[in-house]
Structures are given as structure tokens and as C-alpha cells.
């Protein structure tokens, strides 16, 4: 399960095919850990909201700054107030999906 101290980054992004690549590509290229992603359309579908589960470590500030530079990212907010155990439910899903 999730051992480290995690936090959630909330993003509002322009909704088109390449956005997810830009976000996940940034994490792999810069060597940041990304523990989980939740994503969904908002409003008229021109934007999406994403929740990134990340380690709360010395890289966090740098991650936020790099995310802010991405062209398709409209806003970046660190949400320590959010309940990141929400992501644990995904782990339940993964368990359900496993063959018995």
C-alpha cells in the first residue's frame, strides 16, 4: 500500500489528446514519482481536472513549477486538504480485477 507521505496536486488542463502525455512525460523525464492519477472532464468538455498523487518530498516545489510551465496546464494547486486515501479505492479496484 501507500507507505510514504503523499499529497495531491490538482490540475486544471485543456482537454485534448496529448495532455496526459505531457503530464506523465514530465514526471518520467524529470525523474519524479507519480503514484496515481485520476482524471475527468469538467464543464463543457474543453477542460479536464486531474488529481495527481505524488510523494511529499523535496521535489514537490520543482514539480509544481514544471507543471505550471506546461502550455496546456491552466492551474496547479497542492491540496494537502484532500483525502488521498481516495486513491486506495483504486487499489481495491486493481484487486477486484485480479484473477482469483
Amino acid at each position: 500500500m501507500i507507505q510514504q507521505t503523499n499529497t495531491i496536486i490538482e490540475l486544471e488542463v485543456q482537454n485534448h489528446a496529448g495532455v496526459m502525455s505531457h503530464i506523465t512525460g514530465l514526471f518520467s523525464r524529470r525523474g519524479f514519482n507519480l503514484e496515481g492519477i485520476l482524471c475527468g472532464q469538467i464543464g463543457d468538455g474543453s477542460a479536464s481536472r486531474m488529481y495527481l498523487l505524488v510523494n511529499e518530498d523535496k521535489f514537490l516545489e520543482q514539480i509544481v513549477r514544471q507543471l505550471e510551465k506546461l502550455y496546456d496546464v491552466r492551474s496547479v494547486t497542492i491540496r494537502p486538504d484532500y483525502d488521498h486515501t481516495l486513491f486506495d479505492k483504486l487499489h481495491d479496484l486493481i484487486k477486484i480485477g485480479k484473477p482469483a
Binding site: E61, R65, K69, Y71
Partner: protein
């Protein structure tokens, strides 16, 4: 203009953008684009390899500061462009690369010459677009230029499927290009007073300036600032040309191949004012030991550079010239006699050492001779290796955009195509490409492009038959095991050049190469000289990779 297809829209928008030259190579997936180009006043430079086209764009962009354009087709055309795009990312060069892509309906089918250009260029661009319709081009193309040139410049890729290039749409008017909107960057009054407080408290401040000074056009402000408060000025490789090299305050390039005194001064300073630089590891050496006694003030337009490598006590996120305009009137005059005297004596006692031998073929003597014979405003490009570092050390670079070099990516093969781009964008200037026998072979095909346009490019190959800078590291750090660094066959570059129709000469028979160099530099048009240098000559001082800058090998 009622009906236009995607290609015509691209070309018309490039014209409106003021683009006069495009470098590229046509292929199956960008045929419509080339068809539209044929009807335009834009001059096409046919490179012989897409990487050449990419670096020709570098030469134009780096020598002018304006975004430059290159074209490539899908698949190998795009993959060949990647190195030049990555190079532009690391050195913050505004390049717009427009690539053809297979038709939308065939994307994802492993079609002929299909690669995922969007996916591959994602980590090496400032931003990239895969265009879905001709309509989108109307905003994507101007936006690509805005992104490439605004803030911290960088490369933008626009991947255009063939059907989008052919799609015809009704266009009422092409939107006028907005001149880029520069944010105001009002400095915080508290920051200004903290800045001055730190500066007043400092007894040994240093300005450390990088390529951002050139991009922001802040040369005069930096100079005024340094002089007003008598602050010594150190530069990174990318910052060469921002401060007069013969100035008392100038301490030159820091880092792996910086002068001994430059690294010593950085070791002593108690305040580093870092302007438009990003603490690259080649400049800092071991980061923890870089400027160990100093507080840091970091001014940069890119917020993500702040505290990325080195934590600063004060950071100002702003365009440099705007920031300095606001800081300058608040800064007090200061003689700093003790510090300046000390810097002077460090400079005197730890200067770069000219060769002990008088051999005119010694690379340092060669560079001095070349510099004496060259036009004072000649543009130098380099490849990557020993010749590059000798050039950075020994050619006094007097103007911004006079020294074009691949700093961050360190791409061998950069020099000649970059020289082509510089010559195209500055037809009145002499362009000198300092290269090595390793680097020149990496884009030698562009000799044909030079011949096509009879460009005033002088290619000077410092030939030691080895990958010299790698060999040097093997000598110092790998027990003199010269694995893979010595060339077994030595091509005759003079014969190769004459095969391309370019005047050339192999030097070495005459005891003094000065006359041949003079003749080559005085002549209009392209020349290639193959100049033998001794393989045992190393670039010093050298900080071993991973060591503190205080550890320097050689003089």
C-alpha cells in the same frame, strides 16, 4: 482569399511572421507544403540531412534572436531533426520545426514513414502540436512562434498530417500577427530593498551571467550595473560576449574549463548574483562545493530554474533587462577597492597559461592567429570538443551572438550547419567555423549546402586524428586506455571539400600557417582548411567531472 489549403495557410502565416528563409528537406508527407512553398517569396535552403536543416535554423536563430524555421518530412525526416530540437531545448533557442505526418486516417497503423513525432518530441520541446485540421493551423502557427520566442525561448514542433496540409477551407482573413506581449514584470519593492541590503552587506560580490543576458538584450544594463557597484563579472559558456573581455571587472568563463582565477574567485565570493543562468553542472562542478561561502540572488525569467540546482536567498522572476532597469537606479555606487584589488591579483597570478612552446600549429597559437586575422565582428561557430573549449578560452568574444556553440547538449556536428544559418542571416559578415576532425564528419554533407549558396563560411578543422576531449579524459581518468578514441583512417578533408567544389587546403607542410590562414580569411566565399594539431595537447585547466571547481588539473 476565400479558399486555402492547410499548406498555403502555413506558408502565408510564415510570410506574415516575417520568415524569409526556411531550411529543410522535402519528402512524401510534406509534399503539399513544398508545393505551397514554391509559390512563396520565402527562400528555401535545401539541406542534405534534416539534422543539418535543424542546425541551420539554429544558426539563424542564435545569431539574430528571432525564431527560425526548419521543415522535415515524417518518419526519418522527423527523427533526424530530433537532435537539433533537443539542442534548442537545452540552449533555449527559438526554433519552429514543421514536420509532415502521414494522413490522419493512417496514424497508428505503422504506415510508411510513420513515427510518433508528437510523442518523441514531447520531452525535448517547449511545446508541440499535432494539428488535426486546417482550421487549427490558423491559431497553431502564430501560437508556435509566440511560444518559441516568449519568456525563456525554446523549440516548438508542429506536426501536420498530409491530409491537413491538403484540406481546403474558407479563410476570410489571416489574423494579423500580434507582436509578442511582454509581461510587465514589476519588481516587488521588498525584493528590491532586500537585493540592495544583500549587496551592501557583501564584501566580495560576483555577477554570474548566462545566455539569458543575450536573450533578454540586457548587455548594457549588466555593464552599467557591474560598473556602478564595481562587481566582477563571471560568465558561463552561453554568456560569452556579454561583457568586454579586456575589462578589469571581467573574470571570464567559470567551470570545467574556466580559467584558474575564475574558479578561485567563485570560491571566495560571498554573494553570487546569478543573471539568466541555470547552474549547469559544467559551470558549477560539484554543486555543494560551488561558491561555498556565498549567498545567492537568482534572477531568471523561468521560475522553474529557481532553486532547481542551487537554493537562492533571493529570487526574482523577471525578464532580465526589465529587472535591471528597475534595480539599477536603486543600487548605490561602490568602489570596492579591496575586493577589486584582490580580484586583480588573483587574475594576474592565476591567468590562463599560453603554451610554453612557440609552435604556430599549437591550437592556442592557431586560435590567436585566426582571431587576429578575422574581421572584428566575425561570427564564430564551434563544434564540440577540445577545439570548442580552446576557442571559448582564447578567442576574446566581444559581442553577444558572436559565439555560437552547442552548450547544453554538446552536439558534435553543430558547427558547420550553424555557420550556414549564421551566414544566411548575416550575409555581410564573415563566419568562422572552428571544428575538429571528429565533429566535422558528423555533418560533412552540408558542404554541399554551402556550395549551393557560395556562403562566406570558413571551416577550420583542428585535426588531431582523435576524439580529443574524450581521449583527454581517458588520459586523466581512465589509466590512459584509449578505448575507441583514435581514428584508424584519416580522411583527406581537403580532397573531400574540393569534391564538393569548395576551395580547400591541407596545412602542415609550411612551417607557419599564418599566410594560408590569412589568404583563406581574406577571400570571399567558402574555404576549408585542414590544420594538423598535436594529439598530446590537452585543454587545461580541467575540473574532473563530479569534482569541485577548486580541483583543477593543469594550468
Amino acid at each position: 482569399m476565400p479558399q486555402m489549403n492547410g499548406s498555403e495557410i502555413i506558408i502565408r502565416l510564415l510570410e506574415k511572421q516575417g520568415i524569409e528563409i526556411v531550411a529543410g528537406i522535402p519528402g512524401g508527407a510534406n509534399l503539399p507544403l513544398y508545393h505551397a512553398l514554391s509559390g512563396s517569396k520565402i527562400r528555401h535552403i535545401l539541406a542534405r540531412h534534416e539534422q543539418g536543416a535543424g542546425f541551420i535554423a539554429h544558426g539563424m536563430a542564435r545569431s539574430t534572436g528571432k525564431a527560425a524555421v526548419c521543415f522535415g518530412t515524417s518518419g526519418p525526416g522527423a527523427t533526424n531533426l530530433l537532435t537539433a530540437i533537443a539542442d534548442a531545448k537545452l540552449d533555449s533557442v527559438p526554433i519552429v520545426a514543421i514536420t509532415g505526418q502521414v494522413p490522419s486516417s493512417m496514424i497508428g497503423t505503422d504506415a510508411f514513414q510513420e513515427v510518433d513525432t508528437y510523442g518523441m518530441t514531447l520531452p525535448i520541446t517547449k511545446h508541440n502540436f499535432l494539428v488535426r485540421s486546417a482550421e487549427e493551423l490558423l491559431c497553431v502557427i502564430p501560437e508556435a512562434f509566440r511560444i518559441a520566442e516568449s519568456g525563456r525561448p525554446g523549440p516548438v514542433v508542429v506536426d501536420v498530417p498530409k491530409d491537413v496540409q491538403k484540406e481546403s477551407i474558407h479563410v476570410d482573413t489571416l489574423s494579423e500577427m500580434d507582436s509578442p506581449v511582454h509581461p510587465k514584470y514589476e519588481l516587488d519593492l521588498d525584493d528590491i530593498s532586500l537585493f540592495n541590503e544583500m549587496l551592501q552587506k557583501s564584501e566580495k560580490p560576483v555577477l554570474l551571467i548566462g545566455g539569458g543576458v543575450i536573450m533578454s538584450d540586457a548587455i548594457e544594463q549588466v555593464s552599467a550595473f557591474a560598473r556602478k557597484n564595481n562587481i566582477p563579472v563571471a560568465t558561463t559558456l552561453m554568456g560569452l560576449g556579454c561583457f568586454p573581455p579586456d575589462d578589469l571587472l571581467y573574470i571570464g568563463m567559470v567551470g570545467m574549463h574556466g580559467a584558474r582565477y575564475a574558479n578561485m574567485i567563485m570560491d571566495e565570493t560571498d554573494l553570487v548574483i546569478a543573471l539568466g543562468m541555470r547552474f549547469d553542472d559544467r559551470a558549477t562542478g560539484k554543486v555543494d562545493a560551488f561558491c561555498p561561502n556565498a549567498s545567492i540572488i537568482h534572477v531568471d525569467v523561468d521560475r522553474s530554474e529557481i532553486d532547481k540546482i542551487k537554493t537562492s536567498s533571493l529570487s526574482i522572476i523577471a525578464d532580465l533587462s526589465t529587472a535591471l532597469d528597475q534595480l539599477l537606479p536603486t543600487v548605490e555606487e561602490n568602489m570596492r577597492s579591496d575586493w577589486i584589488e584582490h580580484v586583480k591579483s588573483l587574475k594576474k597570478n592565476n591567468a590562463l597559461q599560453p603554451p610554453k612552446i612557440s609552435d604556430p600549429y599549437h591550437p592556442i597559437h592557431l586560435l590567436k592567429t585566426i582571431n587576429q586575422l578575422a574581421d572584428p565582428d566575425a561570427i564564430y561557430t564551434t563544434d564540440v570538443g577540445q577545439h570548442q573549449m580552446w576557442a571559448a578560452q582564447w578567442i576574446p568574444i566581444t559581442y553577444p551572438r558572436q559565439f555560437l556553440t552547442s552548450g547544453g547538449l554538446g552536439t558534435m556536428g553543430f558547427g558547420m550547419p550553424a555557420a550556414i544559418g549564421a551566414a544566411l542571416a548575416n550575409p555581410e559578415k564573415q563566419v568562422i567555423c572552428i571544428s575538429g576532425d571528429g565533429s566535422i564528419l558528423m555533418n560533412i554533407q552540408e558542404l554541399a549546402t554551402i556550395r549551393d549558396h557560395d556562403l562566406n563560411v570558413k571551416i577550420l578543422i583542428f585535426n588531431n586524428g582523435n576524439l580529443g576531449l574524450v581521449r583527454q579524459q581517458q588520459e586523466y581518468f581512465y589509466e590512459k586506455v584509449y578505448s575507441g578514441t583514435q581514428f584508424e583512417s584519416l580522411p583527406d578533408f581537403a580532397v573531400i571539400a574540393s569534391g564538393f567544389g569548395i576551395r580547400s587546403q591541407k596545412l602542415g607542410n609550411e612551417p607557419d600557417p599564418s599566410n594560408a590562414l590569412k589568404e583563406a580569411l581574406d577571400m570571399k566565399g567558402p574555404v576549408l582548411l585542414d590544420i594538423p594539431i598535436h594529439v598530446a595537447e590537452n585543454v587545461t585547466p580541467m575540473v574532473p567531472p563530479g569534482s569541485a571547481n577548486s580541483v583543477m588539473i593543469g594550468e
